[in-house]
Symmetry: C2
Subunit: 324 residues, 2 copies
């Protein structure tokens, strides 16, 4: 280490497809990383064993300040992963206690969206912004809100749920049991719902999606809507436009409460570029309180895909080491 | 002073009807207070002169740590009151600089809703809650949001605008120029709008409000809706029920972002008691994300009327003195 102030930590991103762990430097970001298929981690013990081996390998050559983990339904205060939607682990897993016991490291946990926000805060588009929000537009919507430089977790640790702002009272049924949440429109699942409605109604452009594969293969269907929009299919374009309108409403309400200077966007919908970001920018700006207009930038994440959560997981460890 | 740690400051609440200033103790709250009719403060200089005299009087006998001011459109970061809606002072008044120059005191300013939240935080129903919100249901809706013990002001100082959460897209036109803001339904102005709509449609109970005085005397009209609801008038009850539904939506969205442990309510609508708070509690609880249900208390302010803003204004000075 040439920089005496450089610190190293491990960052872990537990996703539905892969689990990844990286050696992260405060000076240079991701140094090296490893991954494993989540499907091979049938029980929490296998996840802990894998991480314990990785930690042992890296800690032989490096002094680590700790291990940070970002995971779906990871609870920062309790150190537990609770009924994660995309993992085969029902119930509550005390990963922080298990991994600390196995490795002797200081272990810190948060949900994946908050970890991504911290990654942007330290290494990405959130740098220099004391008040910003990170929105991940994937299968659902993940939200991480930073206020005064800190992740807004709230009294029970479940703050920052931007995907569950209600943007259309009485609207689409959400997985949370309520109606009209932003993620029922402005996520891959939301895009597909709009297209399926269009197919049922026989809207212009529906022919491109009226087949069995579209109804059954979620991942391929999402890609097809993106490709169709790029080719000018009117139904696909309408799905992106509706997603933009609804996300614009959610972000305007976010702004009324937290007044960020920037909103960082990441995930599948952002890949559609101006097809999505153009209408989003217009709906967002028009929907803001007059005092906020022209004050809040919408930007796409500039970090390599998947890096935000890894870096942010390590940032959890850096902040813990700094006493934050 | 018997308690060596007791501190004293002046708290100022600049309202549309009266301006008030109080000597406030960290130990006992309001020690004594003075008031003046706002209508007599035609120019900012008269407000500064009045405060300078009060400060001189109290500082002869007491050591003050500073003066805090809560005012409509008061901007904490800039120290200015900007185009206040209920004062005859157009433009931007640098009250902090003017009063500091005139008195030699350290002067701190915030908007009235944030001051009220700080008053509850230090002396009222926010005590012991690191994450809570204060909602003042008056002519409009004032919101103050406390996160990690600090007022959420955001990057531009205009955070916490709970009254401008959009609860009914395409709904009633708001003074902010947008449609469907919570305060167009869940404020005295909102109640009157609902009743006026009911009168136009000849709804049951409308007879009680179909007169010239109701249309022209705002203050009396607000009182009459409250009295009619207490007497069981169905249109007045519907106005409170709609206000409760719409405020419930706003508070559920607030909870999705900030996850408070408590929401403190204050102002005219709260005086209606269970007529309003009963349906509000039901709509709020049903509208919450499942993880928040049963976790967030709705309570009425327990401070004497008008004290929250005075105490919170002084709390601005106490926090400034403590280096916060």
């Amino acid at each position: 280490m040439t920089d005496p102030k450089e610190l190293l930590a491990l960052g872990v991103d537990l996703g539905g497809t892969n689990a990844r762990v990286a050696l992260v430097s405060t000076a240079t970001g991701v140094v090296e990383s490893e991954r494993i298929a989540t499907s091979s981690l049938e029980r929490p013990a296998q996840f802990i064993d894998w991480l314990t081996r990785q930690t042992a390998t890296w800690s032989r050559d490096h002094q680590l300040v700790g291990v940070g983990i970002g995971a779906p339904n990871g609870h920062h205060g309790r150190g537990t992963i609770e009924n994660p939607p995309n993992l085969p682990w029902p119930g509550v897993t005390p990963v922080v206690a298990l991994l600390a016991e196995a490795t002797g490291q200081r272990v810190t946990l948060d949900n994946d969206a908050n970890a991504a926000a911290l990654g942007e805060a330290r290494f990405g588009a959130g740098l220099g912004h004391e008040h910003f929000a990170m929105v991940t537009l994937g299968t659902g919507i993940g939200g991480g809100v930073v206020v005064d430089g800190k992740v807004l977790r709230g009294a029970d640790g479940f703050g920052g749920e931007l995907g569950h702002l209600i943007v259309e009272p009485g609207g689409r049924l959400c997985g949370c049991g309520r109606r009209g949440c932003a993620e029922t429109y402005a996520s891959v699942r939301g895009l597909l719902a709009t297209v399926r409605e269009g197919v049922e109604r026989g809207e212009p452009g529906a022919d491109a999606f009226d087949d069995e594969a579209f109804r059954t293969d979620f991942e391929a269907a999402g890609r097809r809507v993106g490709e169709a929009a790029a080719a000018g299919n009117p139904l696909a374009l309408r799905a992106y436009a509706l997603a933009a309108e609804m996300l614009g409403r959610a972000l305007a309400d976010l702004a009324s409460i937290t007044a960020p200077s920037r909103v960082v966007l990441f995930g599948g919908l952002v890949l559609a570029g101006d097809t999505f970001l153009g209408p989003l920018q217009r709906h967002f700006e028009a929907g803001l309180l007059p005092c906020h207009r022209g004050q809040i930038e919408l930007v796409a994440s500039s970090l390599p895909p998947g890096h935000a959560a890894l870096l942010g997981a390590a940032e959890l460890a850096f902040r813990r080491a700094a006493g934050a």
